[in-house]
C-alpha cells in the first residue's frame, strides 16, 4: 500500500486518540487525525476548537481555525475567554495537538522567534493558544516532519512547555497537564522517558534508527521497548483520501 508522509503521520496521530477523549483541535493534520479517529475507533471523540466551538461536525474540510463549517451543526459555541478558562484551564480537555518551528530534546516547543527575541532573525507567528494547550491539556501530541533543523537539542525560545530541562522541572512549574506524550513524525514516534526526555519509542515501517539519528539534533536515546508501527490500513487511507481531504489540501 502506498502512502505519503502526511498520511503516515495523520494515521499514527489518530491512533493515539481514545474513544471519549475531548480533544483541542487545530486545523490541518490534527483536524484530519481527529476526524479519522472519530470514524474508526473513537466514535465518541469530542472535538473542541480554540475559536470556541465544541462538538464540531464539519461537513467540509475547515481551512481556518474559525471556519464557519465548524459552527453549523456543532453542539455548543462559546467565547474565547470561556474556551480557555472553563474548558482548558479547568481541566476539561484530555488531548491537545501542538506544532511549531522547533521541538527540543525535552519536548519544549518554539513557535515565536529564531534568534534574539528583541531583534529576531525570523519572526514566527507566536503562541496563539499553544502555551495553554501545552500547559493544561491532560496529554499533548506533536505532529511534525522529522528534520534536523526542527529538532535542536535546545530551543531558542520556549513558547510552550514540554518538560523544560527535566520531568521534575515541569512538575514544579505548576502546569497541570502531563506534557507531550508523543511526537509523531514521518519516521517514527518519540515519547518521554521518566526524565521527560523524548526518546525513540516507535519506527514506521522501513525506517531504521540511523535515519532517526541523522535527522535529529541530539543523540536520541532508544526505548527498551522499541516498537514498529503498523502501516496505514486501506480503510484509514480511504477515509482520509475520499471523505476527509478529497482535494488533497493537506495530504
Amino acid at each position: 500500500m502506498d502512502y505519503n508522509n502526511a498520511e503516515l503521520m495523520t494515521v499514527n496521530a489518530a491512533r493515539l486518540l481514545r474513544d471519549g477523549d475531548v480533544v483541542f483541535v487545530g486545523v490541518g493534520l490534527p483536524n484530519l487525525a481527529c476526524n479519522l479517529a472519530r470514524r474508526t475507533h473513537a466514535p465518541n471523540l469530542v472535538m473542541i476548537y480554540e475559536a470556541g466551538v465544541i462538538g464540531a461536525r464539519p461537513s467540509r474540510l475547515p481551512l481556518s481555525i474559525g471556519d464557519p463549517c465548524l459552527v453549523s451543526g456543532a453542539t455548543a459555541v462559546c467565547s474565547m475567554y470561556d474556551i480557555f478558562s472553563f474548558y482548558l484551564q479547568r481541566g476539561n480537555v484530555d488531548v491537545g495537538f501542538l506544532g511549531g518551528a522547533q521541538i527540543d530534546r525535552f519536548g519544549n516547543i518554539n513557535a515565536t522567534v529564531i534568534g534574539d527575541y528583541n531583534q529576531p532573525k525570523t519572526r514566527l507567528p507566536g503562541s496563539g493558544g499553544s502555551m495553554e494547550i501545552a500547559g493544561w491539556a491532560n496529554r499533548c501530541y506533536i505532529i511534525t516532519p522529522h528534520q534536523k533543523r526542527r529538532f535542536p537539542e535546545k530551543v531558542d525560545f520556549i513558547t510552550s512547555a514540554g518538560f523544560l530541562s527535566h520531568q521534575k522541572e515541569r512538575e514544579a512549574s505548576g502546569a497541570r497537564g502531563k506534557g507531550p506524550q508523543g511526537v509523531v513524525t514521518h519516521l517514527g514516534i518519540l515519547e518521554p522517558n521518566e526524565n521527560g526526555e523524548m526518546i525513540l519509542a516507535a519506527l514506521h515501517p522501513g525506517v531504521n534508527i540511523d535515519m532517526i539519528q541523522e535527522n535529529t539534533g541530539w543523540e536520541v536515546n532508544i526505548s527498551a521497548n522499541l516498537r514498529e508501527t503498523l502501516p496505514p490500513s486501506a480503510e484509514e487511507l480511504r477515509i482520509l483520501r475520499e471523505d476527509l481531504d478529497p482535494t488533497g489540501i493537506y495530504i
Binding site: 481551512l63 496563539g128 502555551m131
Partner: protein
C-alpha cells in the same frame, strides 16, 4: 436615541491619531470595512490590538497607520505568515507587545470587567513571561502558590461587526463569538458595523442573544459585507481564495500599493468595494440557509 452614523462619520468622530484600537472578531466578522475607512482617512500612529492581527492589521500596517501591535498570534490563518507585519518587525520598524491567546483575552476580560488584573494559572512556559514585563506573578493567598497575572487592556476604540442590531446599538451575534463582548466592554468607545439594522422588536424577541448592549455603544453603522474577506455566519462565506491571494500580494511593495490603490483608496465605501468584487465572487461566497430551532420566551 438613534446612534446611526455612516461608517465614515463614525471613524472620523471616534478614531484619532495615536489611539489604541481593537478590531474584534476571532477569524469571524473581522471589521475590514472599518479598517479600510481608517486607511482612507489616513489615521496615523495607531496601536492596534487583536489576538490575531490577521490580514486586517497587515493592511493597516501596509498603509502606514500602525505604530505598535499588541497580539498573540501573528499569522495568515490557514495560509502562513503575515508578511508585512513580520517584515517590519524583523526590520525593527514597529513596536510590539506579545501574549498567549489566553493572556491577551484575559487582558480584555480584566479591562471589560473593571478589574486591575486577571489571574491565570501557570503553563510552565518561561520565555514570554521573561520577554514581556507586563506579565507578572503574584502569590495565591490561599495556597501560597504562584499565579500569573496580566493587566487590563482598555482600548480607546473597539470596532465590532455584528449580524444584526437596532439603531440604539443593541447587537446580536452568533457563530464564533471570540472576544467581541470583552473588547466592547473594555473600550472607551464602541463602533458597531452591522449586516442588518433591525427593529427593536426583533432584538427584544430574543434578549439572551444580545451580546453588546446599547449603553456602551457610540455609533451604529449599516455596512453589509463589512467582514469580507472574512465572513459573517449565515450571511456569506470566508473568502479563502483571497487569504491565499494576500500571501502573494503581500510579497511585493508594489503589489501591495496597487492593491491598496485599487481596493481601498479607489473605492468610496464598502458598497462600492462589494460591487467591484463582482458577481462571480458574490456567488462563490453565497450560503444557503440553515435556521435555528425557535424558542418560546412566553408572553408574561
Amino acid at each position: 436615541m438613534s446612534k446611526l452614523h455612516t461608517l465614515s462619520e463614525a471613524i472620523q468622530k471616534y478614531v484619532h491619531d495615536g489611539d489604541v484600537i481593537y478590531a474584534a472578531g476571532f477569524t469571524h466578522m473581522i471589521p475590514f470595512a472599518a479598517a479600510h475607512e481608517i486607511i482612507r482617512q489616513k489615521k496615523k500612529n495607531l496601536t492596534v490590538a487583536r489576538a490575531t492581527p490577521d490580514l486586517i492589521y497587515d493592511m493597516l500596517t501596509a498603509a502606514g497607520s500602525v505604530k505598535k501591535v499588541i497580539f498573540s498570534y501573528m499569522g495568515n490563518p490557514g495560509v502562513g505568515s503575515l508578511r508585512i507585519m513580520r517584515n517590519v518587525i524583523e526590520q525593527g520598524e514597529m513596536e510590539w507587545e506579545e501574549y498567549s491567546h489566553f493572556g491577551m483575552i484575559s487582558r480584555l476580560q480584566a479591562g471589560a470587567t473593571g478589574l486591575p488584573f486577571m489571574p491565570m494559572n501557570q503553563t510552565g512556559a518561561p520565555s514570554l513571561e521573561k520577554a514581556n514585563p507586563n506579565i507578572k506573578r503574584i502569590t495565591d493567598p490561599y495556597t501560597g502558590a504562584e499565579v500569573i497575572v496580566v493587566p487590563p487592556l482598555n482600548p480607546d476604540v473597539a470596532i465590532v461587526h455584528v449580524q444584526r442590531c437596532d439603531k440604539h446599538g443593541n447587537s446580536q451575534i452568533w457563530g464564533i463569538v471570540g472576544e467581541q463582548k470583552e473588547a466592547a466592554f473594555a473600550s472607551r468607545h464602541v463602533i458597531i458595523t452591522a449586516e442588518e439594522i433591525v427593529e427593536e422588536d426583533i432584538i427584544r424577541s430574543d434578549p439572551n442573544r444580545t451580546v453588546i448592549p446599547s449603553i456602551i455603544v457610540d455609533a451604529v453603522c449599516h455596512v453589509p459585507f463589512a467582514a469580507h474577506p472574512s465572513y459573517t455566519q449565515g450571511y456569506y462565506d470566508r473568502d479563502n481564495l483571497f487569504y491565499l491571494a494576500w500571501d502573494e500580494i503581500s510579497q511585493s511593495t508594489e503589489k501591495i500599493q496597487n492593491w491598496l490603490d485599487e481596493w481601498v483608496y479607489g473605492v468610496k465605501d464598502r458598497d462600492e468595494y462589494w460591487e467591484k468584487l463582482g458577481e462571480e465572487t458574490h456567488n462563490r461566497l453565497k450560503v444557503t440557509p440553515r435556521m435555528s430551532s425557535p424558542i418560546d420566551y412566553g408572553d408574561y
